[in-house]
C-alpha cells in the first residue's frame, strides 16, 4: 500500500515537474516573441536612448571642464593678485611717504582729471601693514617713488603700468586742481633729475630690491617734453588714430644712443613708438619682396608657416623711409581673431629715416590711421 502511495506521489511529482517545465517553456516562448517584436522598434527610440547617454556624458565632461577652468582662473587670479600686492607692498613704502610723486603722474595720465595736481598729502594705498606717511621722510619718499616709476618704464610700458598706474588711480582724492598740472610735471622732472644725481634720500630696502632688478634707469617725459627732445622729438607724430591719449614717454640716459619711447593708449589698444638713432643702422627690407614681411601671406602660427630664412626679417622688419608707403603699412597690420581681445588691426615694423633715425612702431589701429600718423612726423624735413 505504502509502496503504491509512494509510487503515486513520485509519479505525480514527476508529472508536476514536467508540467511546470512545460509552462516555463511556454512562457519563455511568449517572452521570446516579445523580444523579437522589440527588434522592430523605432530607430528614433533607440537613438534617443543612446543620445541620452551621450548627453549625460557630455554634461559630465562639460561640467568637469568648467570646474577645471574656474579652478585655473582662480589660481591664475590668486597668483596675479599676489604679485600685484607684492609689488604694491614694495612700492607702497615709498608711496606712503611720498604721495606727491604719484599725483603729478596722475596729472600726466589725464590732464582733465580733477584730481590732477593734487599735493599728494592725501595719497592712500590699500596695502596692509604699510607705514603711515611720515612728514619728515616725505621728500625722500618722493624721490624713491620717482625712482621706481622711472625705472619701471625702462623696458617698455608694462612695468610702468603695473607699477605706477595703479598708484595714479589710488593717489589722493584730495582737492588738487587742474591748473597745477604743469607745475607738477616740472616738479616731477626735477625730482627725476635729483634721483639721477644719486639723491636717494631715505633708504628703503623694498625699493632697493625692486630697483636692483632693472639694469637701466630711465627718465620720464611728458608729451610736450618728448616733442622737444633734440633730434628724436621731431619724430613724435602730430596725428594719432582717433581716441588715443598720451600714456607715457621716457628716455634712457645711460644708453649711448639717442633714444625716446613714447606710448599712447585707447582702452585696450595702445601704440608704442621707439625712436632711436643707432650707431649701426639696421638692414632694411627689400620692399619689393612682400614674402619677407607681409603678414597676410602666412597663416598663424607664423612659426610654422613662415620660412625660417625669412623669420627674423618677418618678425621685425625695418623699411627704408623712401620705400615706406601705405601698402607696406597694410601688409603689416592685421586683425587677429583672439578671444577676449579687440579686433583692432595690430602690427609692428620699423622705419629708418635718411637722417639715421629709426622709428619702431608697435601697436593697433587701421593701416590708414597708422600711415597718417607716420605722415605727421616731421623728422626728415
Amino acid at each position: 500500500m505504502s509502496e503504491n502511495l509512494e509510487r503515486d506521489l513520485e509519479r505525480n511529482h514527476k508529472r508536476g515537474h514536467k508540467s511546470q517545465e512545460h509552462l516555463d517553456r511556454q512562457e519563455q516562448e511568449r517572452a521570446m516573441r516579445l523580444m523579437e517584436a522589440l527588434s522592430g522598434v523605432d530607430e528614433r527610440l533607440l537613438e534617443r536612448c543612446e543620445d541620452r547617454v551621450i548627453k549625460h556624458q557630455k554634461f559630465l565632461w562639460r561640467s568637469t571642464r568648467a570646474v577645471a577652468a574656474v579652478l585655473c582662473l582662480a589660481v591664475v587670479g590668486a597668483v596675479s593678485w599676489g604679485g600685484y600686492r607684492l609689488s604694491n607692498m614694495k612700492m607702497g613704502s615709498a608711496d606712503s611717504s611720498g604721495g606727491a610723486a604719484g599725483a603729478p603722474e596722475a596729472g600726466m595720465e589725464n590732464a582733465a582729471a580733477p584730481w590732477d595736481g593734487v599735493s599728494g598729502d592725501t595719497a592712500e594705498m590699500d596695502t596692509p601693514g604699510e607705514a603711515a606717511p611720515d612728514g619728515a621722510d616725505e621728500e625722500a619718499g618722493q624721490r624713491e617713488e620717482q625712482k621706481v616709476t622711472a625705472a619701471g618704464a625702462e623696458s617698455g610700458t608694462a612695468a610702468d603700468r603695473d607699477g605706477s598706474k595703479p598708484q595714479t588711480e589710488m593717489a589722493g582724492n584730495g582737492t588738487g586742481g587742474f591748473g597745477a598740472q604743469q607745475e607738477t610735471e616740472e616738479k616731477e622732472q626735477e625730482e627725476g633729475a635729483a634721483e639721477e644725481n644719486g639723491a636717494d634720500g631715505a633708504g628703503d630696502s623694498g625699493v632697493t630690491e625692486y630697483e636692483s632688478c632693472l639694469p637701466l634707469k630711465s627718465e620720464k617725459r611728458t608729451e610736450t617734453q618728448a616733442r622737444t627732445e633734440a633730434v628724436l622729438g621731431a619724430y613724435v607724430p602730430e596725428l594719432l588714430p582717433k581716441g588715443y591719449a598720451f600714456e607715457n614717454a621716457y628716455r634712457v640716459p645711460e644708453d649711448s644712443e639717442a633714444n625716446l619711447t613714447i606710448c599712447w593708449s585707447r582702452g585696450m589698444d595702445s601704440i608704442t613708438l621707439q625712436l632711436t638713432k643707432p650707431a649701426n643702422q639696421p638692414q632694411t627690407v627689400d620692399a619689393s619682396r612682400a614674402e619677407l614681411y607681409d603678414v597676410h601671406l602666412y597663416e598663424i602660427p607664423y612659426g610654422e608657416s613662415v620660412p625660417e630664412e625669412y623669420r627674423q626679417t618677418f618678425n621685425n622688419p625695418v623699411f627704408a623711409a623712401e620705400d615706406f608707403d601705405l601698402e607696406i603699412v597694410k601688409s603689416r597690420m592685421k586683425s587677429y581673431d583672439d578671444q577676449g581681445d579687440t579686433d583692432t588691426p595690430r602690427g609692428n615694423f620699423g622705419v629708418l629715416f635718411s637722417d639715421g633715425v629709426l622709428v619702431r612702431f608697435s601697436g593697433r589701429g587701421s593701416a590708414e590711421e597708422i600711415w597718417e600718423m607716420f605722415c605727421s612726423m616731421g623728422g626728415e624735413e
Binding site: R25, Q28, R30, M32, R33, L34, M35, E36, A37, L38, S39, G40, V41, D42, E43, L45, L46, E47, R48, C49, E50, R52, V53, H56
Partner: protein
C-alpha cells in the same frame, strides 16, 4: 570613418566595408551579442554573421544609422542562436524533438482571433514605447533591447539600482495591460 563613407564602400561592393564596419561597430555588436548569449564563441559567430548579413542587405538598403542597423542584425542573430542553443540543451533525445515537431501541427490552444502577427505585435510595442516617458522608455530598451544588466543601466543613467528595477517593473505592468487592452494574447 563616417557611416556615409562605410555605406559608400558597401555600395561599391568594396570588401573594405566589412573591415571598416568591424572597426567602427565591432565592439558595439559584440556587446549586444554577448549580453544575449553570454558566450564568446557564439558572440563572435553572430558578429561575423552580422557583417555577412549587412553585405547582403546593402545595397539595396541604405540605413540611416548604420550602428542601429548592424545592432539589430546582431540582436536578431543572437536571439536565433539563443533559441537554437536552448533547443539543443532541451533536446536530449529524438523523442522530444519529434514531439516538438508534432506540436507544430496542433491547433493553438489560445484564441486564434486574438493572435497577432509579428508585424502587428511590433507595431503595438512601438506604439506603447512611444507613449512612455523618455526615461522609462530608455530604461526599458536598455534592458530588453540591449539586454543590459540592471546595474549597468543604473550606472549609465546615474540612477539607483532600485529605481531602475522599479521603473522596469512598472513598465512591464503597463505593457501587459496595454497588450491585454489591445487584445493581444501571446
Amino acid at each position: 570613418m563616417t557611416d556615409a563613407k562605410i555605406l559608400d564602400l558597401y555600395w561599391e561592393r568594396a570588401e573594405q566595408a566589412i573591415y571598416e564596419s568591424q572597426k567602427a561597430y565591432g565592439k558595439y555588436c559584440y556587446k549586444i551579442a554577448w549580453n544575449i548569449l553570454y558566450s564568446r564563441e557564439d558572440s563572435d559567430e553572430c558578429v561575423n554573421d552580422t557583417w555577412l548579413r549587412a553585405w547582403n542587405a546593402i545595397p539595396p538598403s541604405r540605413p540611416g544609422r548604420l550602428a542601429l542597423f548592424l545592432g539589430t542584425i546582431t540582436r536578431n542573430l543572437s536571439l536565433d542562436r539563443w533559441k537554437e542553443r536552448r533547443a539543443m540543451k532541451r533536446g536530449k533525445g529524438e523523442m522530444e524533438l519529434a514531439l516538438d515537431e508534432l506540436a507544430e501541427c496542433l491547433p493553438d490552444a489560445h484564441n486564434t482571433e486574438a493572435e497577432v502577427e509579428a508585424a502587428e505585435l511590433e507595431r503595438l510595442v512601438n506604439d506603447f514605447l512611444c507613449g512612455l516617458p523618455e526615461r522609462e522608455c530608455n530604461i526599458f530598451l536598455r534592458r530588453y533591447w540591449y539586454v543590459e544588466e540592471y546595474s549597468e543601466i543604473a550606472r549609465r543613467y546615474g540612477m539607483k539600482l532600485n529605481t531602475v528595477k522599479t521603473s522596469l517593473f512598472r513598465t512591464r505592468g503597463k505593457l501587459r495591460e496595454y497588450l491585454e487592452r489591445e487584445g493581444v494574447i501571446l
